[in-house]
């Protein structure tokens, strides 16, 4: 990302702005955690704020806002999908249980007699 001095100076301003935003959001994260919504609610709120912070870091500090390479975007996209699969599918399997089926007892002698014995 070669840029002129003017470009880079503009970027420096945005770095400082992002820094301020991140500092504020960190304080918000802690403040919001003092309230108890529900178990899930707290998680969602915390992750939303963290997600917002992450977006700022990724787009401005890591220059993704100006990134034109589709290879990078594809890689990140696929990574994101698989990350979500890894995060949620295992816990979904843990919470899905087979139905309780009562089959009664197998009457083996009866079955054998019916087939003529063996």
């Amino acid at each position: 990302m070669a840029g002129s001095h003017a470009d880079i100076s503009k970027h420096v301003r945005s770095y400082m702005a992002v820094f301020a935003a991140l500092a504020v959001l960190t304080i918000v994260t802690v403040a919001v955690a003092q309230f108890h919504f529900s178990d899930v609610g707290n998680v969602v709120v915390a992750l939303i704020i963290a997600g917002f912070k992450a977006t700022l870091v990724a787009s401005i500090f890591m220059h993704l806002k100006w990134e034109k390479s589709i290879s990078i975007w594809w890689s990140l996209g696929l990574c994101g999908i698989f990350f979500l699969a890894l995060l949620f599918l295992p816990v979904l399997t843990a919470n899905d249980h087979p139905p309780q089926v009562h089959m009664g007892t197998w009457d083996v002698t009866h079955q054998v007699a019916k087939s003529g014995g063996h």
Binding site: S71, S75, A85, L86, L89, T93, D96
Partner: protein, 591 residues
């Protein structure tokens, strides 16, 4: 055009290039080389040694299966008391042989050979590049692999012997297992690191270093296969690395990530606080291990595609479809993993999800196989040794794939899980599937690497014997599995049906030993031909169309005297209006 470096005329590029043109000493040229070809050969030779070693481990195991409780002949007297009593394998050692056979064949044999060996050597040549994008990283990748191999094999020499909890290292058994399991975990960390460094290198190389005119859809199918495989390795291996760290913590720091509460082993309550879940290990393990099996097959399909199109003198039928299938297959491979866990108590909804994705993933495999078969239609088929192996791959892979279907459906899997049916299924895909593709690739690219041909008569003997005996080993296993015979069982005769299956086991065992002997013509041929093989008269003895055949045989440092350009697609065979029956990618406008 033999290996001299050309020294002058680099001018302003001096700052950016590696200083490749002063003479390197022995160590920098042959041991710590950053040349992708040397590294490729290092990977290939190491991997072939490990394939042989892993095969030997299994040949020992098969004695116990065919002749339970009897001393192993020939080598029995050399086995120490730790592993065998008067030559009769101890059960723990049998389990170690099984776990290490699987681990070594997959992680130290097949993948390093397919990706590290073939991928490293051939891929840069096929895209016209002078080397990989990150040559030093490439070297680091090999040496990380090497350290991993040493640590893994060192497991055999620690008290308690090598890892013996299956190549799958399921908790809680693996957590309470002996020291060898720690070596397995540490070895895996090095192997995974090697893989990750390698996959970054492959992806960047393929994206950035293709020569002019070589668009993505003009790439040889082999390169596409390596590309998708690298994404699988890049994104699927890290969760296993995380899991290995967690298991190391359980073993060394006493954590309970995988240890349930109240675990009692042989009457002894285990000293863990508990609260963990063995299924967590299974999820993290299979998240890698399923894409891993596609890592085992995709480059093999790539090799087979190259050889089939070359020896039918026709383009690949449905190239674009095959590429899309490859990419779709790679994507789907990340969301099928729990089909290895159908009987762990998963409910019907989530099982249905994974069964559905598993059924869907069979479609692209079938498409690729079908396209390869259709390519043969109306072809002028040359039955040379690479082609024999490539042709055999097709029905063998079909059997392997089809036998996977009852395993992917929960209802039938309940009966077949953890039986010999599973072993038969996956070995058909990897052994007469992938390993045949590997043989095909070795016979095919040998002249490029060495400048000499392997002996075709020995090659044909190798093929016929291997084909017969590999089927002898694995075909009975489907029947054993249907009869209910469990895998990983030291003495199947503890069960009535196990007693009845002794004939099948003997057949597999004798097949295995004969298969081992059948490799002798290959080993002989491989080494003899280095010095005594027929020299090639030109750089393109197979009259192929892909760019690696433009380079000298063997290629010098830097590969090509002049940067090639791609003028057309990769498989322009039997083009109307062209004098020869092949029109190479790198040839100029006229034939």
């Amino acid at each position: 055009m033999s290996g001299h470096d050309h020294g002058s005329g680099r001018g302003g590029h001096h700052d950016h290039e590696h200083d490749l043109h002063h003479e390197l000493g022995f160590w920098r040229k042959y041991v710590f080389s950053i040349d992708h070809k040397v590294i490729g050969i290092q990977y290939a030779v190491s991997a072939l040694v490990f394939l042989f070693f892993g095969f030997c481990l299994m040949m020992i195991m098969r004695w116990q299966l065919a002749y339970p409780g009897q001393p192993v002949p020939i080598i029995g007297r050399f086995l120490s008391d730790a592993v065998a009593i008067d030559g009769v394998l101890r059960p723990e050692f049998y389990n170690a042989l099984g776990a290490m056979h699987g681990t070594i064949m997959v992680f130290l044999g097949v993948v390093p050979l397919l990706v590290g060996g073939f991928g490293n050597y051939v891929m840069p040549l096929q895209i016209g590049a002078p080397d990989m994008a990150f040559p030093k990283l490439n070297m680091l990748s090999y040496w990380s692999f090497f350290v991993g191999c040493v640590v893994m094999v060192a497991g055999f020499f620690v008290p308690g012997g090598a890892a013996n909890s299956g190549w799958t290292s399921y908790a809680p058994l693996s957590v309470i297992a002996t020291t060898g399991q720690t070596m397995w975990l540490l070895g895996m960390v090095f192997l995974i690191t090697s893989s990750l460094l390698g996959s970054v290198n492959f992806i960047v190389t393929i994206i950035q270093l293709r020569v002019k005119g070589l668009t993505m859809f003009r790439l040889p199918f082999f390169v596409w296969a390596q590309f998708v495989t690298s994404f699988l390795l890049l994104l699927a291996f890290p969760p296993l690395e995380a899991a290995a760290v967690l298991q190391l913590m359980d073993r060394l720091a006493g954590t309970s990530f995988f240890m349930p509460s109240g675990l009692v082993v042989s009457g002894v309550p285990q000293d863990f606080v508990g609260g963990g879940n063995p299924l967590l290990w299974q999820h993290l393990f299979w998240f890698l291990a399923h894409p891993e099996v596609y890592v085992l097959i995709l480059p093999a399909m790539g090799i087979v595609a190259e050889i089939i199109t070359n020896n039918t003198r026709r383009p690949l039928w449905g190239y674009t479809t095959m590429v899309y299938s490859l990419v779709f297959l790679g994507f789907m491979s990340f969301i099928v993993w729990a089909h290895h866990m159908f009987i762990t108590g998963m409910g019907t909804q989530i099982s249905a999800f994974f069964a559905t994705t598993t059924m869907i993933i069979s479609i692209p495999s079938v498409i690729i196989l079908t396209c390869l078969i259709i390519t043969l239609y109306n072809g002028y088929i040359r039955f040379n040794v690479p082609m024999l192996f490539a042709l055999a791959f097709l029905p063998m892979f079909a059997i392997g794939g089809l036998t996977g279907l009852p395993l992917g459906l929960p209802a039938s899997d309940i009966h077949l899980h953890d039986t010999y049916y599973v072993i038969g299924h996956f070995h058909y895909v990897v052994a007469p599937g992938t390993i045949f593709a590997i043989f095909a690739g070795i016979y095919y690219w040998y002249p490029k690497v060495t400048g000499r041909m392997m002996n075709p008569a020995l090659g044909k003997i190798h093929f016929v014997l291997s084909f017969i005996f590999i089927n002898t080993v694995f075909m009975p296993m489907f029947f054993q599995g249907l009869a209910g015979e469990s895998r990983r069982l030291y003495d199947p005769t503890v069960y009535e049906h196990g007693v009845q299956m002794i004939g099948m086991r003997k057949m597999s065992s004798w097949g295995a030993w004969m298969l081992g002997l059948s490799q002798l013509p290959f080993i002989l041929n491989f080494f003899m031909s280095i010095w005594a093989g027929k020299r090639v008269t030109n750089d393109n003895p197979w009259e192929a169309t892909t760019i690696e055949w433009l380079a000298p045989s063997p290629p010098p440092h830097g590969n090509f005297a002049k940067v090639p350009t791609a003028h057309r697609g990769p498989y322009e065979y039997s083009v109307p209006g062209v004098k020869t029956d092949y029109f190479p990618q790198f040839a100029g406008a006229e034939a």
